[in-house]
């Protein structure tokens, strides 16, 4: 590929690409992200390509493999453009019919269309699906047009135009001003004003500065950054280039965790492609600006998502946080001013430059502007990536986009912000989702994980789960995090196993405060949040565990017992055969009984029994 030496070359190349592509009559889009591949999209793609080769279609039909389209529940999906027809849960066996009828015959196969589980209606296009209706997809909308392995696709949809605009006509100072007035706040969780961060880094005196993209996403149930980086890596690189121009950096790093192989692969490929055509390197597009990006892989430590730990890890040392009395924008990587932003923050930059800060600030609430991607998971009907304007209520997200409860149990809480966030009860579902209101309610925005919980979830158990996670992931450098979180886990385990006392609850509260106040880094400072928020909103569950030795949700094994209801059991013997521990006794056609000494409360009998005859109490 040729190298571009002037900004007009890029525009010329775009025109050439559009000219080349104007004959394409229809496009088959098959999302192929990590989540899609887990849902067997590779087999579907293979089958479709084979069918196309076998049946022979018009040469102007193009097959396009892209990143995830967001609706992970219904994957693997196939989209058809023009017409925006969506097929859900496609299997390789459907390939023949799809190619034969839809591609060649322009006919819609009703059976593969999406059926809304709430209303029972089928939907043909994206606009008819409630999951997509309530969203405002600013960052995710590009995904379906861009093959992450092709820089041409990104340029064809108008990529790198913001960079050209910046290099041609906007001074670094104005870029910082623009980002500041857009009101963009860091999407990694802290919510620090990006513009202020850039301004500080810009004014810091140094011969060398760095911009870093934090793609070390590790919250359980969150995968927004993975999706963005593996679906549209050039968007991130463009954002980083604009940031580097603004603060005066010559070198950038994308720190991506090694557990995201596809993201690593796509990021590396994107960097190479950009370098090949002269968008990275010396004197980019003939300007005085030189910048290069390196992709660094993280070894999978959760704590390396913390800014100082990430930089220590980048320096090649053990990824442990450093004291942050001097900010990283002044002394960061190799003690040079460094701007560390999350993937999603970088992804927002090009559109702010293209459309202006006013456009960005017009979305969202007073303190939080723009859109935010959430990974909606848990006990809701529609799970997937959801991009909404800031200020949408939790109720809208869970019930309108998510489609409400899944297994017939009422929804009782939503956990936001991963291990650093908290659980918000149903009574708080009217809260607009933005940085400040979530923080006030005792949770936090976090990177965007959103786990919905129903009546079958024990909140003490949830707190225990997150403490266990944090105890495993704490680096162990400072006392409150290493010993304090361990002791908190000890207390919560006591509570879930029926040894808890009222004094321990008081101690847990006091310890939470100590850990939050005195820990070295953000991981420890926010570690008590899951405990504190569940204690704040679900105190009755804690007291039920401690005082009555009872688990209201029927989750904590030490506090529950299984019983067969005499009036419902008809003696079919299914549970008796299913029980791996031989704990169920009884004769055919007679009521069975569970021997408590042998029962390990695995729950297999409950799933096997067709008559709901087994009760947990």
């Amino acid at each position: 590929m040729r190298k571009f030496n002037h900004s007009s070359d890029l525009e010329g190349f775009r025109q050439e690409l559009l000219e080349e592509r104007k004959d394409i009559t229809s496009t088959i889009i098959i999302p192929n992200g990590t989540c899609c591949q887990a849902a067997n999209s590779l087999a579907v793609i293979k089958a479709i390509l084979q069918e196309i080769a076998r049946q022979g279609v018009d040469k102007n039909v193009q097959v396009h493999l892209t990143g995830c389209h967001g609706f992970c529940e219904q994957e693997p999906m196939i989209l058809f453009e023009p017409g925006n027809i969506i097929y859900c849960r496609v299997t390789p066996e459907d390939a023949r019919e799809i190619v034969g009828r839809t591609v060649k015959g322009s006919e819609v196969i009703e059976r593969l269309l999406y059926t809304d589980p709430v209303s029972g209606k089928t939907a043909r296009t994206e606009a008819e699906i409630p999951f997509y209706q309530a969203q405002d997809r600013q960052l995710l909308q590009h995904n379906k047009w861009v093959d992450p392995r092709s820089i041409k696709d990104y340029i064809a949809i108008g990529g790198y135009r913001a960079l050209v605009k910046t290099l041609d006509s906007i001074s670094p100072k104005t870029v910082v001003e623009e980002v500041r007035s857009s009101g963009l706040r860091g999407r990694g969780g802290g919510g620090f004003s990006t513009g202020r961060k850039w301004a500080e880094a810009r004014s810091a005196p140094s011969d060398e500065k760095y911009v870093i993209c934090n793609a070390d996403e590790g919250d359980p149930g969150a995968y927004m950054d993975r999706c963005l980086l593996e679906s549209n890596p050039h968007l991130i690189i463009e954002g980083m280039m604009i940031g580097a121009w603004a603060v005066g950096a010559q070198k950038g790093y994308i720190y991506v965790r090694n557990e995201y192989p596809l993201a690593v692969q796509h990021a590396r490929l994107a960097v190479k492609q950009a370098r090949d055509i002269g968008l990275l390197g010396e004197n980019i597009l003939g300007s005085s600006f030189s910048f290069d990006v390196e992709v660094a892989r993280g070894g999978g430590a959760f704590v390396c998502g913390e800014s100082t730990a990430l930089m220590t890890s980048l320096e090649g040392k053990v990824g442990e946080p450093r004291p942050k009395d001097i900010h990283t924008v002044k002394e960061g990587l190799w003690n040079r001013p460094s701007v560390l932003n999350n993937v999603e923050t970088w992804a927002n930059i090009p559109s702010i430059i293209m459309n202006g800060s006013g456009w960005f600030a017009s979305k969202g609430t007073k303190g939080s502007k723009g859109t935010k991607i959430f990974a909606l998971t848990g006990q809701v009907k529609n799970t997937g990536l959801v991009e909404i304007s800031m200020g949408t209520t939790l109720h809208d997200i869970v019930f309108n986009i998510g489609g409400g409860q899944k297994n017939g149990k009422a929804i009782k809480a939503v956990q936001t912000g991963g291990p650093s966030g908290g659980c918000l009860p149903l009574s708080k579902f009217d809260l607009p989702v933005d940085f400040d209101s979530l923080y006030e309610a005792g949770s936090m925005m976090g990177s965007g994980g959103m786990v919905v919980m129903d009546e079958g979830t024990c909140m003490v158990d949830v707190a225990k789960y997150f403490l266990k996670f944090l105890q495993d992931e704490s680096c162990g450098k400072c006392v409150p995090c290493r010993i304090g979180v361990d002791r908190m886990l000890e207390i919560v385990t006591d509570i879930t196993e029926g040894r808890g006392t009222r004094e321990q609850i008081t101690l847990l509260e006091e310890l939470s405060e100590t850990v939050a106040e005195t820990s070295l880094c953000g991981l420890g400072k926010t570690a008590p949040n899951p405990v504190l928020s569940t204690m704040r909103y679900f105190a009755d569950e804690y007291f039920a565990h401690v005082d009555e030795k009872r688990c209201p949700a029927g989750v904590c094994k030490a506090l529950i017992s299984y019983d067969i209801l005499d009036e419902k059991c008809n003696g079919c013997g299914v549970c008796l055969r299913a029980c791996p521990h031989g704990a169920i006794k009884g004769e055919k056609k007679k009521v069975h009984a569970i021997e408590p000494q042998l029962c390990l409360k695995c729950g297999i009998c409950i799933t096997e029994c067709k008559f709901d005859a087994i009760a947990v109490g």
Binding site: P323, G484, L511, L520
Partner: protein, 229 residues
Amino acid sequence: MIQTVTLTIDGVPVKAAKGASVLDAALEVGICIPHLCHVPFLQDTGACRICIVENVKNGSSRVTTSCTLTVQEGMNIQTNSEKIRKLRRNLAELLVAQAPNSKAIQDIAVRCGVKEVRYPFRNENCVQCGRCVRYCTEMWKANALGFVGRGKNRRVEFPFATRPDFCKNCGSCTLYCPMSITPCGGPMKRGEEHLCGKCESQAVTAPNIIGACTRCELGKGFSCTRHML
């Protein structure tokens, strides 16, 4: 000439050399901030968190370790507020519950006002203050000791768990280890751990002078900088 800055510690104006840590500045003028992982000639990492202070700025305060906090002109530091005393007590309680078999840790617990331990004792041999590792790395440049593992499994270890040739057998790691002296009553067996508390009379309890250094015996126990220099 040494450049100095003026800051306020516990309401007292203090002059300190530019670039010094708040902990050093306070100890210099006889304000007692208990500390464990700090050794005067080694780099501070802020691991034990015992030396926490409140950094008051524009009406709001931030809790941070004084060993890693560099003095700045006009700083306002509270080393002994109600909040700090409570947090420090909780931290010392965590430490003494983890490793009661050490005079240094027991003394710190007394100094920080721990009266009872509300956690089950664990009786471990290391609190991971990192003095040995830093001494070995920074003073002798031997790198014979290092931290291995993460979180609960983090521990001090030789490279690949065998003593390397470049360990000069100097013994500094043992010398600076706070765990090397057992409590006065002798080592505590498993199940018999308790708060020693014999030196309680040494602790300054009068509320108005609680932050003043009296060069107490407790300091010897946890190798307080004032006793080391």
